[in-house]
Amino acid sequence: MEKGRGAGYGVYVAVFAALLVLTGATVGVSYIDLGIWNVAAALLIASVKATLVALFFMHLRHEGRLVWTFALVPILFLALIIGGTLSDTLFR
């Protein structure tokens, strides 16, 4: 895949700004007491940031099916390690 397809600096600056805003949001949310949802909020914001980085900075949105497969399949393994560990900790 060739780089810089149509995307100028503008897109990168915008994504960078979005990442900064989301970092601010992470800090902000930590001051609000949401109980267990604090963790969920922090993880959600972090996932959005990771998605932005993968799509724009790592050019995933320009890639073909094979690269998308290799990008998405590890999420299954992430779910597996979390699920497997929870099968222990939840039922102790």
Binding site: L66, F70, V73, P74, F77, L80, I81, G84, T85, S87, D88, T89, L90, F91, R92
Partner: protein, 555 residues
């Protein structure tokens, strides 16, 4: 000199070409981008650590001849078994087949000129060396936690855990880069006409292995970072006093370290799948079953790590789930074994050393695999876990399996790699001694384990002594076998008879080029027209089937 010129691989110019080995000098090796040279570097390095780890093993066995501290202190023993495990696993058995033989043979078997990223390949070798240096640096205050690094002991001991785990982190990084390189190579650089179902089975094994390396290795890297943070900054990920959980470490560790045994065994199975048809002169039986069972093992292998933790205090629910899933790794493994044996049925079998090692692989690995059944079942596991039964099972699968498969590969490809033949007589002696010594060493350990002797014990009650002596004597015989084998390698390397391009009459592409191969592998990239296992010889005479054409395209 009689070259096998059936495939026209004689090189122009007088005398014998040394192929990729032609260029001499330190720089030509240290900065080489040739996958064959990098593969050879990996092989030299890993074989050195195989011998080193073997010396540790001999010392362990010598200590265990006596129940007390007669030979050396318990601490020395604890350091030795940690070093034996760490060196053998991280510096020999994980990199040996994938990075050594894999680097050398993946491009040759798929008809490519090199791997996809030659510079990354060189970088991964030097990262590996850096990791080794860090690990050697940790020996100043040697570690005694075992290769499993269980917390909280590893977080508390005064030994150099941080340094050793950082060294393994680097070695793991090299392993990720190599795996990544192989995946891209197999996807993009196959010769024209080489569809997925025409891939040699060694490539299928390597492909499955590479995926495990890329997916699982980062987990152990991060786990070791967490351990380092715990040791350096007192962050209590695994410390119950700070709200952490020691079992979390075990989950993370085994999420990598279980699949990694398939990193070890799958390429070895790939080698066996190449050797058996060549020496049986028969097409491989059940090609697709063998190919897909590699992927199935790699995939299911990720679901079973909890079987290392049945008695660890893990929840019973998790134990039941993991026991159930564990058993289903056995099925694709059994499928492979049955297919290999069916390949031999009505073959025309010869027993040169590669075949001898391959049959030994099937013999020992089947035994090792079946003893795994006792460990997968919950009830028997709570008796046998952490005893010598585990030690014996592990060595039957990893030495009897992976190492024997690796040796099959070394004997099979030695003529191709060096351009020289090994002495068949010495190879047989080496095999015989190794086989006898190995079984003597480890068979008795099953019984020791059943009688309750725990692993990692420096001292033991006297009732276990007699069998330990048997085991130690076995280790000496095995060491003798390995010594003969390595003498054969060295003798063959310098003074072996010149090897023809295709001494075993193999049909895979590496045999269609010179021995040793030229730097660019093939004068012209072959065009593949059939699978590489058309070994059957018809009753009526006729030309042997060819599955490739020469030179219809280049790259």
């Amino acid at each position: 000199m009689t070259e096998n010129t059936a495939d026209g691989t004689m090189l122009s110019g007088g005398g014998r070409s040394r192929g990729y080995l032609e260029e001499k000098g330190f720089r030509s090796w240290a900065l080489t981008l040739d996958h064959k040279r990098i593969g050879a570097l990996y092989l030299y390095t890993t074989l050195f650590f195989f011998l080193l780890g073997g010396i540790f093993a001999l010392l362990i066995r010598i200590k265990l001849m006596y129940p007390g501290q007669e030979i050396f202190s318990n601490h020395t023993y604890n350091v030795l078994f940690t070093l034996h495990g760490s060196v053998m696993i991280f510096l020999f058995i994980i990199p040996a087949i994938p990075s050594g033989l894999g680097n050398f043979f993946i491009p040759l078997l798929i008809g490519a000129r090199d791997v996809a990223f030659p510079r990354l390949n060189l970088a991964s070798y030097w990262i590996f060396v850096a990791g080794i240096l860090v690990i050697l640096g940790s020996l100043l205050r040697p570690m005694d936690t075992g290769w499993t690094f269980y917390t909280p002991y590893s977080a508390k001991t005064a030994a150099n855990v941080t340094l050793l785990s950082f060294g393994i982190f680097l070695v793991g990084m090299s392993s990720i880069l190599t795996g990544l390189n192989f995946i891209v190579t197999i996807h993009t650089l196959r010769a024209p006409g080489m569809t997925w179902h025409r891939l040699p089975l060694f490539i299928w094994g390597m492909y499955a292995t590479s995926i495990i390396q890329v997916v699982a290795t980062p987990v152990v890297g991060i786990t070791f970072l967490l351990l380092a943070m715990e040791r350096l900054f007192g962050v209590g990920f695994f410390d119950p006093a700070k709200g952490g959980d020691p079992l979390l470490f075990q989950h993370f560790f085994w999420f990598y370290s279980h699949p990694v045994v398939y990193v070890m065994i799958l390429p070895a199975m790939g080698i066996i799948s190449e050797v058996i048809p060549v020496f049986s002169r028969k097409p491989i039986f059940g090609y697709k079953a063998i190919a897909y069972s590699s992927l199935a093992i790699a995939f299911i292998g990720f679901f079973v790590w909890g079987h290392h933790m049945f008695v660890s205090g893990m929840s019973k629910t998790a134990g039941i789930i993991f026991s159930f899933l564990t058993f289903f790794v056995a099925v694709p493994t059994a499928v492979k074994v049955f297919n290999w044996i069916a390949t031999m049925y009505k073959g025309s079998i010869t027993f040169e050393s590669p075949m001898l090692y391959s049959l030994t692989f099937i013999f020992l690995f089947t035994f090792g695999g079946l003893t795994g059944m006792f460990l997968g079942a919950l009830a028997t596991n709570i008796h046998l876990h952490d005893t010598y039964f585990i030690v014996a099972h592990f060595h039957y699968t990893m030495v009897g399996g992976t190492v024997v498969g690796f040796l099959a590969g070394l004997h099979y490809w030695f003529p191709k790699m060096t351009g020289r033949m090994l002495s068949e007589k010495m190879a047989r002696w080496g095999w015989l001694l190794t086989f006898i010594g190995f079984n003597l060493t480890f068979l008795v350990q099953f019984y020791l384990g059943f009688k309750g002797m725990p692993r990692r014990w420096a001292e033991y009650p006297p009732q276990y002594q007699s069998l330990n002596i048997v085991s130690t004597v076995g280790s000496w015989i095995m060491a003798g076998g390995i010594l003969v084998m390595f003498s054969n390698f060295i003798r063959g390397f310098f003074r072996g008879d010149p090897a023809p391009a295709n001494p075993w009459k193999g049909l895979t592409l590496e045999w269609q080029t010179a021995s040793p191969p030229p730097t660019e592998n093939f004068e012209e990239i072959p065009v593949v027209t059939d699978w590489p296992y058309g070994y059957a010889k018809r009753k009526t005479a006729g030309p042997p089937p060819r599955f490739f054409d020469r030179g219809a395209g280049d790259g």
